[in-house]
Symmetry: C2
Subunit: 138 residues, 2 copies
């Protein structure tokens, strides 16, 4: 099936493209680790300017759906095997986006939140793409 962009739609073209690519990824047309078409290719294929294409990819990055490497391309983010963390009693859990510094120190890409697990006055931070929290089982 061929999906096209409608420049006269109320939906911005960059969101249309983001939706098209997101659906294609979810449908398995691009598997984990697979490379998406280049920005230039997407510009030609959908008859869009580079801004629209880049904005669409930015949307997918901030959703954690793809990872972009300079000089190489954009790739579907494969889900890594998560570490299971057992939550102790009296633990408080929040989640937020890391700052750029935290992303570097934790080694996580864009669009990946972090868990903050606080027990007493001790807080630990976990990358949410590699962590599953579990409560104790009955």
């Amino acid at each position: 099936m061929i999906v096209t962009i409608d420049p006269s739609s109320f939906e911005p073209v960059y969101l249309q493209l983001a939706r098209i690519l997101r659906d294609a990824i979810e449908a398995g047309e691009f598997g984990p680790g697979e490379k998406l078409p280049s920005e230039t290719r997407l510009c030609q294929q959908y008859e869009l300017g580079r801004d629209a294409v880049r904005d669409a990819l930015q949307v997918l990055r901030s959703e954690g759906a793809i990872v972009t490497v300079k000089g190489a391309g954009s790739f579907v983010r494969g889900q890594s095997a998560p570490e299971v963390v057992r939550l102790p009693e009296n633990a408080r859990v929040t989640s937020r986006m890391p700052t750029a510094d935290e992303r570097r120190s934790l080694g996580v890409g864009e669009g990946v939140p972090v868990f903050v697990v606080t027990v007493g006055e001790t807080a630990r931070v976990y990358p949410a793409d590699r962590t599953v929290l579990e409560t104790s089982g009955g």
Copy 2:
């Protein structure tokens, strides 16, 4: 103290500006709900093009630090009073970024992750900016 942009630095100017604004927010120079200078003003003040300023604001949005309203400006995101959710036993907790559709239905802005709490085969989604998860206390 006056902080300036160094166009000859290896650090991209838009990241320099993002860092300057982030530090200013954390230092309390812009309180919760307060409006940042307009994009045009930032362009003049730091002698940058519009892209650089917009990219810097995009960084802060995806970190959940600010909220931008069309026609009005960008505002420091105030932390809302969180709802405390008690985690049951045998619960699994993950966190990820919502898609654009999920953001609309949950009423959350950019840069806000969601909790996914799964018990058995039932999954519930909570906005992470208004939710704190707690394990049972001993």
